[in-house]
């Protein structure tokens, strides 16, 4: 029995997958971050096509209300992904701070080099 709901679900999942791939193709999304999204949209697509799988998995785990399993899985996945992004942001912040310091040090060095080439220690504009 194929309801309208299933068609929409398959379409949305496929659309998500295509969007991710398109972003990677245009180099707007780096491969290492795309991987999680591709896996996620593939899982969604699989669930949309083979709806029974969710019921089976819920039954096997002893969950009475199958959609609860879906929500739990999604929340868990989002949690992991956002933790991963926090790590990435922390690392980038460290890199940026390092670069800012380095820029300031280089700026001073350039200033010193210009000053000494003019024969004085005074600043360049």
């Amino acid at each position: 029995m194929t309801g309208l709901v299933q068609i929409i679900a398959v379409a949305v999942s496929a659309g998500l997958l295509i969007t991710v791939i398109a972003l990677v193709r245009e180099e707007r999304l780096r491969e290492e971050y795309a991987f999680a999204w591709i896996v996620g949209s593939l899982v969604l697509l699989a669930l949309a096509i083979w709806r029974n799988s969710l019921d089976l998995a819920a039954k096997w785990l002893g969950i009475y209300y199958p959609p609860a399993l879906l929500l739990l899985a999604v929340i868990l996945a989002v949690f992991v992904v956002s933790l991963y992004f926090s790590v990435v942001i922390s690392r980038q912040r460290q890199q940026i701070e390092h670069l800012v310091e380095e820029v300031a040090l280089l700026d001073a060095e350039v200033r010193g080099a210009r000053g000494s080439s003019r024969g004085g220690r005074d600043q360049a504009p």
């Binding site: 940026i96 701070e97 800012v100 820029v103 300031a104 040090l105 700026d107 005074d122």
Partner: protein, 594 residues
Amino acid sequence: MSGVSFVVPVLNGRRYLRRVLSAISREARGRTAEIIVVDDGSTDGSRRIAESFRLKAEATRFESSSRGFRLQAEVRIIDGPRRGAAAAMNAGILEASHSLICQVDQDVVVRPEWLDMLLRALDDPAVAAAQGRYVVPTSARFWSRMAGRDLDLRYARLPERTDHVCTGNTAYRASALHQVGLFDETLGYGYDNDLSYRLVGRGYGLAFCRDATAEHFWRNSFAGYCAQQFGVGYGRLDVVRIHPHRATGDAVSRSIMMLHGPLTLAALAMALLSFVAVPFGIAGAVVIGLLAAERALAGIRAWRLTGDRATLLFPIAHMLRDLVWAWAILVWLARRLIRIERDPAHSMRRPRTTAPSAAANARVLVLVPAYNEAANLPRVVADLRAGFPDARVLIINDASTDATADILPALGVEWLTLPQRLGVGGALRAGVRWSRRHGFQIVARVDGDGQHRARDLARLLKPIVAGQADAVAGSRFLRGTHRATARRMTQRLLAVCLSAIARQRITDPTSGLWIFGPRAAQLLGDCHPGGYPEPEIHLLLARHGLVVREVAVHARERLAGRTTLTPARAAVAFARTAFAFIALTLRPDRVPRQ
């Protein structure tokens, strides 16, 4: 007759040092000998004792040599590298000029004819090292007898040729030491086992001289016993990791002793599992019972050997030791799991040592972090010129939005301009890195708002130059009374917590007036905390065993403008610091090696 170099590493060994050194010089009399005392940063006056001993030896040396007979040993005192006992010994060995090296610990008093007997054993060129026998001094109390009598028993069964010699009352052939590459400086307790195994691996023989005796003054307290046993157990794990085939022990530590730690751990695990199934609990009890029985038998044997009835309490004392060993195994495994590197301080805790004194002519750089301080900076610079004239000044403009950037060139000092705002932590890190590239050993910092007086810096500098501290902070609260405002109460709370964790008195945790000596500057250049970093600097320095002192200073109100520290930001800073307490203790050490 070949000469002998005695190497005595000393770290806070005031208590027995005089007796240790006199015993050595008695043994050395009439030989070509030198005594090298390696002071690894003592803070208890050991250095003075060694120094007075050296002067006395110097005087009598000439006296007796004029008679022509009793040549006295020459005494030298060198600075240790402060990286652990093994590193200190290596420093002494490298300093030694004779072909035989006697290594004596700071709590070991050798008895007459000790040296003669060891040297006789070393007459055989195949022998690389000869160890004397430790004996328990008559003054020893309960806990030191629990360690010492056990050693008596183990030594009683030791053959004359052995596969392990302990350090501490031992003579080494210098050439053999150099051939195997000296002691492994990454090891704490167990560095002597590691060296012995390497010597045996090279085909050398090791000798045990039963009749060359030395009194060993063990730690005499319950806490001392536990700390030492933890170190011994932990260090042994490091050694076994390097020499896996020695997991079964050696002639001194037999395999049954090696089993005690793991079996106790297993028994504890089984006790936990007994909640799941009762048979586990029974098996655990059986294991504990067997271990206790083994110790009880050992206690009886030790009693018959030494006549000391306290050894009958071996089961109790040594089961406690086994518990400590089980704990050491857990800590060791945890450190390997989170990939903390091997460190001698893990098994041999180092007391806080004095800083190596900075060169008297070391160049000083004053860092002034500034965010929107255009109104104050000219006066700050003028104050520094007048009050602290020998230092260079570096202003770090933290992406100010006012006229700061415009006035900097006219101030006649060095400056950096950060293109993005990083906060005071990032600004200081940039400043410390600039100082390193330009060869400054000492770095000071004052706030850009003019609240600090430059002439206080000279007083802060004194302990650094004298080698009494790695970092000095100006404290506004060391003297006088202060109004009990909410802000002040928060600072008090922070100060109490910091003092407890850093194990030194801190009264002003948020002071912005600092001078950092070479060791501290090195550390901060690598990992200066960000945000409002002052309390975290205290934590970082304490965590790395650096000595921080406070000097009372008077702070003015800021000259112009407003502080960036609003109540909300202060609350965030407090929470951040509270979290840093936890985070920093979990983080591995980042002391730059060498």
